[in-house]
């Protein structure tokens, strides 16, 4: 049996090895920091330039008015109201359908070829380019069902088709993450399946479902292409009174104004972007608030 020589911890070989390890550590930290600074830098650049350009565009008239040919009189309220109405239609359709689908697929559906196919289809649907949904909306809701053109109703339905798969996927994950022991507990004292779902599983899955829903809604809020297809790009000089009236939405308004030749619209475009970003921030804030409010620990 050969005797093992004691390790020379202070020898040059060991020292070099240790130095190399520390260097790797430093390199990784700098790389990570650089990545964060790069993305944060772009965001800061966007905010600063947009802010500097757009801040002068704000006025009472801008916040209460609608689109106009004269940039001085052009306002954002019409588009903002259009966005609100559209999102209302979207959430009213996508949330119940999405949540019910998620619960059904997770809790009730048998595992077989059909449900596998449905699962794959839903995942694919979430990745379909939005312009396709716009074409679908144009073909089905306008040309076939003759719903009003340029209206938040049709925009909302089209965006709901896009948002629903996002809610289904988030909802399924949230339902899946409810511990099985809670289901056992409720079943064990004689709760029926539907009582287990509505008394225990859904309340515990709600924070996750709401987070997914708001992410989907934020995406719908920023969506432009499908709405162009269904005619929400018209020049609308009065705010919509309901979901059947012609309207436009914030991102489409930004798109329209950015295309204007008149110099005054540069300022208005930036101001509209600020309104859209504030709206988005408010929605994300709401998501965080709801998640904290409903989150239960065990």
């Amino acid at each position: 049996m050969s005797k093992r020589a004691p390790t020379d911890w202070n020898g040059p070989v060991m020292q070099r090895h240790i130095r190399r390890r520390y260097a790797a550590e430093r390199r990784f930290r700098l790389l990570g920091l650089g990545a964060v600074l790069l993305s944060a830098g772009f965001l800061a650049f966007l905010l600063v330039t947009i802010g500097a350009k757009g801040i002068g565009g704000f006025s009472t008239a801008f916040l209460t008015g609608s689109d106009a040919t004269d940039p001085v009189r052009a306002g954002i309220w019409g588009a903002l109201k259009g966005s609100l109405l559209t999102l209302m239609v979207t959430i009213a359709l996508a949330f119940p359908v999405g949540v019910l689908s998620a619960v059904y697929l997770e809790e009730y559906a048998p595992r077989n070829r059909w449900t596998d196919m449905i699962e794959v289809s839903i995942n694919n649907l979430a990745a379909v380019p939005s312009i396709i949904f716009g074409l679908l909306g144009l073909a089905v809701f306008l040309n076939f069902m003759h719903l009003p053109r340029s209206a938040p109703l049709v925009g909302g339905i089209t965006l709901a088709l896009m948002t629903m798969p996002v809610i289904v996927i988030a909802g399924r994950n949230a339902v899946k993450s409810v511990p099985p022991s809670i289901r056992d507990a409720a079943l064990g004292i004689g709760a029926s399946k539907i009582q287990v779902v509505f008394h225990h599983v859904l309340p515990l899955a709600l924070p996750g479902i709401l987070t997914g829903t708001i992410i989907g809604m934020a995406r719908a809020l920023g969506e432009t292409a499908p709405l162009l297809m269904i005619g929400m790009r018209a020049f609308i000089a009065t705010p919509p009174g309901g979901i059947g009236d012609p309207a436009t939405v914030l991102p489409v308004q930004i798109f329209l104004w950015s295309d204007e030749v008149s110099h005054g619209f540069v300022e208005k475009t930036s101001a509209a972007i600020i309104v859209l970003l504030v709206f988005l921030l408010a929605m994300n804030g709401l998501a965080i608030f709801l998640r904290n409010k409903f989150e239960r620990r065990w």
Partner: protein, 261 residues
């Protein structure tokens, strides 16, 4: 001797006859017949994977929730086949309560945990009735003194042993006839375990209690009847004292004396 067998027969609550359980093509329980009575605490012992928990879950049809689990044979509650097509599973589980291995209180208040069962079964007409049920159940579970001033606090904030007693209170709140306990103390420390065992003693006679355990000392302490399972078969079933001191089957003796398991 004659009279004691008669009372035992009168107190018989559940009977299993030639019960087999399959998970897909794998047979987990083989042709087991057993009687469970209110008079005795029945313990199921055996090495891990011997089918004792699976068999226990057949009594209140909890295996129904597992896809492609299949039960054959007959299990009856008061002579009524629990797998008959007319049997209401929801009602069955109210009559045959269950306590699980890991304490699983709902993330709700202590009061709500106990009140949930009576509420869904419509057992309390007024708030005062419900208060009485909650108090009685927590008292029977030996938890009332510890929690009576903080019923609104979350059940999940209790210690592990208290959570398990809360789960027992939740099970007895719907006034079941049978309580199935699936290794109820295996996740608890020795002091909490002793409390659960004392509780089982007190509940005996009021409810038919079946306890699955792989702690043989625990089976010897709390039960009057013991069933030894191995590889899905019921190897030996009889009075706990006999099983532990003078088992008839060599396999039982080998397990009891720690030769395998």
């Amino acid at each position: 001797m004659h009279s004691s067998t008669q009372t035992a027969a009168a107190a018989t609550k559940m009977t299993a006859r030639n019960v087999s359980v399959w998970y897909g093509a794998k047979q987990a329980v083989r042709d087991v017949s057993i009687d469970v009575s209110t008079e005795h605490v029945t313990a199921f012992i055996g090495p891990s994977g011997c089918g004792k928990s699976t068999f226990l879950r057949a009594f209140n049809r909890m295996n129904d929730t597992i896809p492609n689990a299949r039960v054959e044979g007959r299990i009856a509650l008061d002579g009524e086949d629990v797998y008959a097509s007319g049997m209401d599973v929801v009602q069955l589980r109210a009559r045959v309560g269950m306590v699980f291995q890991k304490p699983n209180p709902f993330p709700k208040s202590i009061y709500e945990n106990v009140a949930y069962g009576p509420r869904i079964h419509g057992l309390a007409a007024a708030k005062a009735d419900m208060d009485a049920i909650v108090e009685r159940s927590l008292k029977r579970a030996g938890l009332w003194e510890e929690v009576k001033d903080r019923l609104a606090e979350s059940g999940t904030a209790l210690s592990g042993g208290q959570q398990q007693r809360l789960c027992i209170a939740r099970a007895i709140a719907v006034d079941p006839e049978v309580i199935l306990m699936d290794e109820p103390a295996s996740a608890l420390d020795p002091i909490a375990t002793a409390k659960i065992e004392g509780l089982i003693h007190e509940l005996r006679g009021r409810y038919a209690i079946v306890i699955v355990t792989h702690n043989m000392q625990q089976a010897a302490r709390v039960s009057q009847r013991t069933a030894f399972f191995h590889l899905g078969e019921l190897v030996e079933y009889g009075e706990t004292e006999v099983i532990f001191t003078n088992p008839k089957v060599p396999r039982t003796k080998d397990y009891i004396t720690g030769r395998y398991g």
